[in-house]
Structure formats: structure tokens, C-alpha cells
Amino acid sequence: MTIQSRTPSILLLGYGNLGRGDDAVGPALIEAMQDYLADNNRTDVECLTDMQLQIEHVTDLVARDRILFIDADMSCGSACSLRPLLAEKDDSYTTHAMNPAAVIYTYQQVYGSPAPPAYLLSIRTYSFELGDNICAEANQNLSLAIKMAKAFCEKDYNLPTT
């Protein structure tokens, strides 16, 4: 139950259901990034996927320099966007899934200190039907998001502040 002594400094956490159409873009981005990072021998970046965010994910955030959450977003105003996350209490109705900002909030509750700098990469998506693949439009947006995630992993990346 402890984090390994050599925790990679950057965490990419993509989440969504592979079985429900565009909801899979987060894990799909992680799959692409794993290949890219392996090719470039980047052991300082860890990739994780899950179906939904939950409270135990706070333990994945410990001892990171920066964190990137990747999620499908039906309300995203552009193909994809990257923004910093601020801790925010989640009062959503009976849901068993958390927003990334709520995970950051829970981190503070659990560990008594602010979480490492965290960002959200939102990918514009359209359809979440059971059994569907990622649609063509979402795939195009995913390609742009992968470029953004690669840039995020660069050591001299200029992190956004708003």
C-alpha cells in the first residue's frame, strides 16, 4: 500500500469505458502514449487507465511533479483543451464516479496538503453507445490531444496557468 520509492514524476491518467463509444478516448490516448514513451525511453512518466475516477486514485497522485487527467468531454468548446485543475468538492447526485477536481479535493482531505499540480486534458466527444467504437470526429480530436499530451511530457513544457 505504499508508493514505490522511484515514483515517476509525471502521471498521465486516462479514464473512460472502452465499451462505450467515445468514452474510450482517455484510455486510447494512454495506449498511444505508452508506445511513444517506450520508444523514447521515458521512465519518468507513468501511464494509468481506469473506467472511472474514484477516491483511491488519490494514492496515485502522491510524489508527482505534475499530473494530467484525460477525459471525454461532450461540452468541450474545441477539439481538445488543457487547463489547470483546482480542488473542488463534488456533490454530484448519487454518482459513483468523481470529477478530477474532486479527486484533488479528496487528496487534500486525506493527506492534509495540496495535491501536486494537476491538469485536465478534455477531448471533445459525441456518442457513448454501448458497443460502439470511437467515432471519426472524436478520433480526429484524439489525434490532436495526443500531440498535446506529448508536449505536456516535455521537460521544458510551459504549463498553462488558466
Binding site: 473512460g16 472502452l18 465499451g19 473506467m51 483511491e56 477525459d71 447526485y93 448519487t94 454518482t95 459513483h96
Partner: protein, 494 residues
Amino acid sequence: MQSNQTNTTSNGSRRVAIDPISRVEGHGKITLLLDDDNHIQEARLHIVEFRGFEKFIQGRPYWEVPVFVQRLCGICPVSHHLAAAKAVDQLVGVESLTPTSHKLRELLHFGQTMQSHALHFFHLSSPDLLFGFGSDMAKRNIVGVIEKHPNVALKGVKLRKYGQQLIAAIMGKRIHGLAAVPGGMNKSLNKEERDVLLADIEDIKTWSMDAVLLNEQLHMINPENQSFATLNTPFLSMVGAKGELELYHGGLRANKANGDPLFDQFDYRGYENIIREEVRPWSYMKFPYLTELGKEKGWYRVGALARVNNCDSINTPLAEEARQRFKAFADGAFVQDTLAYHWARMIEVLHCAEAIERLLNDPDISGDDLVVTGEKRHEGVGVIEAPRGTLFHHYKVDEEGLIEKANLIVSTTSNNQAMNESVRSVANQYIDGNEVTEGLLNHLEVAVRAYDPCLSCATHALGKMPLQVELLDTAGNQLDQLSKGSDGKFERLS
């Protein structure tokens, strides 16, 4: 219950609708039908769950099912995996597994139950209970409880994490791994994996016991918790051969609300003889009922409250002591308090912790005899006690092993009518004229949440979680409308 189904337009009732618009995540809707005296005639909790799944898997080979069904839910994929695996065991003609495979599945299921219950109590429901929804006096008492348990959040995270670690050790990863195969399991635990898990088990047991004690206090010192959304219902659950609490495999037991038995040790493969499902035009969810009691009186409750009430004992010592205190609270009768679901869940978490320790110390868990084979069949029924209650998976296959028909009765479906009744009870208590108040909405949430319903369609997308309350008059005119966003902020829309 009969009056709860009265048509609204024919008798002058008004309608209150509570509607999370999202069709993507947490797709729930509550409609309250008022009469002219502002009493709730009927409550309808709409849930879209597993939309199209039974159709979707038709034509797929049976051996894919335990993998597919994990996509149903982000919270209890393991429960669906195991229920489907039990059905598939029958499809390949296997009646009993090897000791190693049986114990590995039990261990997996204990991990799943622990993580699910821990999440529900510590993250979703403890704010309701710890910070109170009732009188100031109750709140002061609750604050006192909090002061005695300052590390509630941290313990909750660690219990959840431990359950997930156990699942990952057996399945390869936290979600959507692979463990059960037709007739067995695909791997056992090695010594290193066992030792890692055993290293933390004493803490896990301690925290589980703390959670039980916290819930005992919360329930016993707060009269409002005891009366809130309370019903008198029959209970359905699985029990072991000696009537003990059983989560993975056993016979079905149902008791009436007063404790009189309906059936016991019933072979779940004949479930269609004891449970029927009613379809109502306003809901995608079916309404199961116990055949012997009929549609009107046969609705029942499942889940931790049903299991802890129904069983005669628990085969781990600390959980058994906790069960006896639970039973003593109602002087040996059934505890029907809806909010006692939380208490019962923590008793089960403690049982899981003890059972996990026992299994991790069992040499069988590292055995290498994993798979049994048999003569193929065309039909299989798998039933387990999922965290939220009895879960049925029923499949029929053709000559080529392709799924012809699937029927799932998920736990939330079994609690469907009970949730409606609890909502109606609470709404009648807190409705205030023609206004949809924040207080009413919050209290309805507490009532629904007690059942830990799985409203999620197992997708997650940002920006899709509003909650709306709408009040209509008999002519359909909107009197009031209140919205609650995922950030908890209310907005009056009319």
C-alpha cells in the same frame, strides 16, 4: 403499494419531477405525484441501467461473456464477471470448481465487496450521516462521533485501496482484468502476492472494526436515522448450507417482513419459479416480485440489510459479534431501518477482512489445480451476492455456443420498488406546499443513496450531471423548478 400506483391525471394529482437530464452518467429521475392535499400518492424513481446490454451480447460466444459484462459497471465489474462466470461454468457442464479456484473466486469477491462498501459509506454516504440532515441535537451528537473518529476519510481510502489491490493481484489489474475462465480460474496467487496482502491485513481488520463501531453509534444515537425512509419488507438473499452469511455461492432464502420464512436453500437455477418481473410503462427497469406473495405484496429488498437480517450467523468471529449486536438492536426481529443498510455494509466489510485473512493463509489459494471440464449445455444461471444485493445472470446458447438469450436481474432492480417507497415516505415527510425546496431534494437523495443504487451506465464524461426538480399542476403547468449541478449549487429555473 396499490395506492402508490394510481394514475395521476384521472384523480387530480400534481407531479413533481426530479430529473438528472444526463443520459450518459447516473441516469436517474424521480417523479412525485401529489394529490390535492399535498400528499405523495406515488413515487417513481426512473433508472436507465444496462441499456440494451442483454440484446447487445446476443450472437456473441459464451466464453466472451464474463469479459464483456465487466463493461456494465465501473463500480462492480467483478460482481458481473463472477456471476457470468458461474453461469458459464454451467454452460460447460461444471457443477463444482476445484478448491483452489473456488477459494480464489471467493477471495476476489471479498475484495470487491470490501472496496465497493468502503467507497459507498466513506465517500458517498458518510457526509449524510456524519454531518446530519436532521435536528441540531442530532447534529451535535454526530459531531461528537466525528471527534472520536478523526481519520474516517483516510481509512475509507485505504480500505477501498486494499480491496482494489486484492482484485488487481488476482485479475492482473484493478478493473477489467481476467480471472475466471469456464470451469475455473486462470491463475492462483503466488507467495509474494499473498505476503504483500497479508502485510496490511491487521490494519484492514482494525479499520473495518472501527467502521462497524462508528455505524453502530451513528444509528443508535440518532432516532431520525432509525425512522428515515423506513419500510417493512420481505428480504431476499443467498445463505450458506448452515444458514450463514454467504456472498459467493449458496441457496436462496426469503423471509417475510415479520421473519416468517417463504423459502430456504432454494436452488437459484430455478429462480424464475420464485421471482417474476413486472414491466411498467414509465420505466426501463423491471419490477421483480416474489411469486408467492404476488405483485402487490411481493416486492422485497436485497443487499447488505437483507443479508445480515436473513442469515443465522456469520462464520468469522468479529463480524458475528457485530451481527449479534445488530440483531439485539431490534430485539431479535428484523432491522427494517433503511439507513441501517450502512451499518450492515460495514459488518460485511469486517467479515470480508476476516475472510480475506483466512483465505490468504489457506495453502489452497496458491494451488495449481485450476480448471474442471464437463459436458456442454445450452443454459446456465449464475447468482452471487453482489455488494448491492442478489445478482442474477441467465444465458441460453445455441449449438455453436453463441448467446441466444440473456436475462439479468441486477441488485438495483430488485430494490426498485423499495426505493420508490422510501422516496415516497421521505417526500411525504418533507414536502412543503407547491415549492420544490432544497431540503426536499437533499432528503430524497439521502433516501435513494441508502440503497447504494447503481445509477451509472458505466461511462464518465465531463459536464453531464445536472439534477432537476420540476413541479407541475394537474394540467401540466409548471409551478416550480429547481436544478442542482454536479458542484452542488442550486438554481431555481422558474
